[in-house]
Symmetry: C2
Subunit: 182 residues, 2 copies
DNA sequence: CTCATATGAGACATTCGTGTCTCATATTGG
DNA sequence: CCAATATGAGACACGAATGTCTCATATGAG
């Protein structure tokens, strides 16, 4: 009987990624519950979006944890990270377009923690001579987010195959589009 | 006395990029006109967004024209294209997050034209042996959009310097993050 | 079984954005 | 100068989404 809060969040994320302007009623239907119950669990749309934000941050941190981003060669760490991050790409795409989250007075400090972690990863790769140093770690972090979101959209719209999503991001981010001279 | 339609669109784009949920009244104020006049020029919010979409497509096509994307080595063409596209990155960022544009029954065919042009560019580079062939031209096109949007956001939020925006996108898209062995 | 609790369905008022209208004022063209 | 036109300010009604409430029903615990 008890509503699975996590499942509701998943359904909401899945719908809001496609239509960020979806009604609370539509969200409720997508989650298989009534609008009343949805409002009982999340006091208003803001609370729902905040919960999705927390979920997104938690998933990203869990992915970073599973990928052991602080261990081994940085390029390999990036590959593992992207692979682990892929299931959360849809949710990330929604949060990415929800620019309202970043204009308020206080933004979730979880993003800062996550950013710091990724920035440290890229900096580590630079100091090890694995990454080029003319692209700042901050930019590489932003690019990682952007490519993940682009990949999620491309997959959703059927432009690229889901199975290629992860390698697409990784290969472009690390190797770029130019053909390598061996 | 006549309102500069183009200037209104610029102001609207500048505001809506930051706050896609901005009110028509806010848009009007940002453009320095009254809500009544705004509604006289654009019959409703939909019409405004459509006009912004047309503007964005036109700017992208103009950029592709100026960059002569069909001439010379493909990597150089990409460099020129990104440089010419940069001023429109903010507008692109707004349209990118306006996923409502792509869910309706008919979407602006301008995007298809633009996509085809960029896909052709990347395919040309592949056939010339300049670009790697394990990343599809479609994905490279999507990645180009995504990186442009990421760069625009990063600049807006002060994370990267505006002067580096263009080279950031170009260098990452073409060369990737890995350090090149000479 | 019985009771407490959670849910669904629906009604309700409120808020907010929107589109339209009017009228006064300012600007432009003849 | 005068007329035509465009603009600004404000009022107005309409619609949509939201948050809250009630009540009937279903589920689970003891």
């Amino acid at each position: 009987m008890a509503v699975d809060r996590d499942q509701v969040l998943r359904a909401a994320a899945s719908l809001l990624m496609r239509r960020s302007s979806a009604t609370m009623d539509e969200v409720a239907r997508a989650a298989g519950i009534s609008r009343a119950t949805l409002n009982r669990q999340f006091a208003g749309r803001d609370a729902l979006v905040r919960a999705l934000e927390d979920l997104g941050i938690a998933e990203c941190e869990a992915a970073a944890e599973r990928a052991s981003v602080d261990e081994g060669p940085a390029p390999d760490a990036v590959r593992r990270l992207v692979r682990e991050l892929e299931p959360a790409a849809g949710l990330l795409a929604f949060l990415y377009s929800e620019n309202q989250l970043f204009e308020g007075d206080e933004q979730n400090e979880g993003w800062a923690r996550l950013d710091a972690r990724l920035v440290a990863l890229f900096r580590r790769g630079q100091e090890a001579g694995e990454f080029r140093i003319d692209l700042s770690p901050v930019w590489l972090t932003e690019a990682l987010y952007g490519l993940l979101v682009s990949a999620a959209w491309a997959v959703y719209e059927g432009r690229v195959a889901p199975k290629d999503s992860s390698s697409n991001v990784t290969e472009l981010l690390l190797g770029g589009a130019l053909r390598r001279e061996k």
